[in-house]
Amino acid sequence: MALDRWIGLILLGIFLAYGYAAWFTMDASLAPFMQRNPIWPSTFPKILSIMGILCALVIIAGLEKGEAKIGDIDYRRLGDYHLGQALGLLALMVAYALLLRPGGFLFSTTGFLIVGSVILGERRWITMIVVSALATGVVWYLVQEVLGIFLRPLPGFLGG
């Protein structure tokens, strides 16, 4: 089964769960006076869930025949691409999200930009450090001073 039909199956699951919530659990907490209303909070979700389930079934059954197109990236040969780099960068983004608050903006961002370049295979250390530090400083200045949005610059133990 091709990937798009597997995704269709997952989407079917999402719509079923959503539909279950809309049809069976949501109305329990509805206030009595609301029940006189022609429209309930669950009305629109109920319609959506039915349409979604029908659509997912059409995709899974493969009723709509399109020719198998291979886009920019052929997922069947994912190993041929720079998968490690992509996963590394995603992990780096998660790390950045977790470190942004405790580590302060300046350190985390400089680190993010340097490690990002290293993952992509850059080895000119001096250039990398200078460019990253400069860019971090400029962005921090713009966001903090020009736009007026607070970004904690330094980690807590340095008084940031």
Binding site: G8, F15, N37, P38, P41, D72, G116, L120
Partner: protein, 504 residues
């Protein structure tokens, strides 16, 4: 109308807004030139900046400048590198790149600049004529018609999705709609589908979603496949002049394609991409036999047609946004989200309530086109140098700006984790050829769709508004036809799969 134009001139010609136009066009041209970054990603990245300015007119002027700057910049990389930065300029590379290889890069860039300028300017004139007309008709609409109109818009987007894609586009729209129901709505004072999580109480962040759907998968694709960011030496670009004969031959093309492109842009779901491909195809078919053979080998007409059409379509896509408040494409959907964040509701009342915004945007389009022309002609050889920024530096920066965009809006690190999570999902969906723009459009229209639906239900005490209001019924029938026809036609003709891409 004259009064409106004067108000617009007054607003648009303020120093701040002039700087916004120039800045927006510059940023758009720079980033749009980078292969892989389309107008949607750029605008998504620019939104936090625009929102924090607090002035709706200035923000929309900036974002609109970025929009046509990006389309413009995309044509430069199409011509010089055969690497379109934007789906709307793919057709430009058909004839632009052969011209560049024949050593006529300067001439190709000049033609592209002039064609874009004319397309954009004529589009702005048409916008000025048609938007107020449509707007006054739209004032007669009732919430039932609005509901039906949004259904038409959403199904048109699905209908233009291409062969074998209709069900996928619809399910993506529905996914966007169900994501919009998460959180506490305005109509019912109860949280829905939050699964008890406080973080979901106010729903998903629109900027986070926009970044995750467009900017992040694009960056991941660039990492996975370095060939996408093909880099080349732009070399020396000289000889920018075009001859009188060439000017004569492209003039009718520009005239026709400005009109055609504009009206295609007005249709929901069909944006600059479809306009440019269709423009190219039409011009090739009506050209004399001798010139037809030139197409694809460096024909000036083949270059002028898509360039005119895509810029005119960009302008055209502002018509439904400004008059009905319904975005026709992913890009205008993002613009709509930004406007709502700035407490401006686009729609027929916009012209009456905030005439300075409405007219300033239109006037700034003229200024923007002029800026682009001035910018493009003498500066192109220098701007093209950005194409030589190494990707090892470029990609971390793109990722960083994506993260920053999601963070600045909410000041919440959880948002960043959501961004990465949705980004991975979006990448997998792109692998399987699911279109992502419908999801975002569904998400943005979801709240309005439900509110209008609920209001009509309450007014008519049930669903009887569907058959009691002829206009609503008519629009819903159109919506149904839009969904059914393409799948019916697809069964008969599976030949023309190529030529329709999402991404503008």
């Amino acid at each position: 109308m004259l009064e409106g134009i004067l108000i617009g001139l007054q607003t648009a010609l303020s120093v701040q807004n002039l700087l916004m136009v120039i800045g927006g066009c510059l940023i758009g041209t720079f980033i749009g030139m980078l292969p892989g970054l389309g107008p949607m990603s750029i605008i998504a990245i620019m939104i936090p900046v625009a929102i924090s300015m607090g002035d709706a007119a200035a923000a929309l002027i900036l974002l609109a400048g970025v929009y046509y700057g990006a389309i413009f910049g995309g044509s430069t990389s199409s011509i010089l590198l055969n690497a379109p930065g934007v789906a709307g300029t793919v057709a430009t590379s058909f004839d632009g790149y052969p011209m560049a290889r024949q050593g006529k890069a300067g001439k190709a860039l000049t033609i592209a600049a002039i064609a874009s300028f004319c397309g954009g300017t004529i589009g702005a004139v048409l916008l000025m004529v048609f938007a107020p007309m449509l707007s006054s008709v739209a004032l007669l609409f009732h919430s039932a018609e609005y509901f039906a109109l949004m259904v038409v818009g959403l199904s048109a987007i699905a209908a233009f999705a291409g062969t074998g894609q209709v069900a996928k586009a619809i399910i993506m729209t529905l996914l966007g709609l169900i994501m919009a129901t998460v959180g506490e709505g305005a109509l019912f004072n109860m949280p829905r589908f939050t699964m008890g999580l406080m973080d979901l109480q106010s729903g998903f962040g629109f900027i986070t979603l926009a970044m995750a759907m467009f900017a992040l998968p694009e960056a991941i694709f660039l990492v996975l496949n370095p060939a996408r960011s093909a880099q080349g030496d732009s070399g020396d670009i000289k000889d920018l002049r075009i001859s009188r004969a060439e000017a004569k031959s492209i003039a009718p093309v520009i005239g026709r394609q400005s009109l055609q492109g504009f009206f295609i842009g007005v249709l929901p779901g069909a944006g600059a991409t479809i306009a440019s491909f269709l423009g190219y195809a039409v011009e090739r078919n009506i050209a004399p036999k001798a010139e037809q053979d030139e197409f694809g080998k460096g024909s000036v007409k083949g270059l002028a047609a898509p360039e005119t059409a895509n810029n005119a379509a960009c302008t055209g896509s502002f018509v439904p946004l400004l008059t009905l408040g319904i975005p026709g494409s992913g890009t205008t959907a993002i613009l709509l989200g930004a406007l709502i964040a700035l407490n401006v509701t686009p729609g027929p009342r916009l012209m009456i309530d905030d005439p300075q915004i409405f007219w300033a945007v239109i006037i700034s389009m003229y200024i923007g086109n002029l800026v682009l022309l001035i910018l493009n002609l003498p500066l192109i050889p220098y701007i093209a140098k950005i194409l030589s920024v190494p990707r090892n530096f470029l990609i971390p920066f793109i990722l960083f700006f994506t993260l920053m965009g999601a963070y600045i809006g909410q000041n919440n690190a959880t948002e960043l984790l959501l961004l990465v999570g949705f980004g991975i999902c979006a990448t997998v969906l792109r692998f399987a050829d699911y279109p992502l723009a419908p999801l975002l459009i569904g998400f943005i229209l979801g709240g309005m769709l439900e509110n209008n639906f609920s209001r009509s239900m309450q007014l008519y005490d049930g669903v009887s508004f569907v058959w009691e209001r002829p206009m609503t019924l008519g629009l819903l029938i159109v919506a149904a036809l839009l969904v059914i026809l393409p799948s019916y036609r697809a069964r008969r003709a599976r030949l023309r799969a190529k030529g329709v891409a999402d991404g503008d």
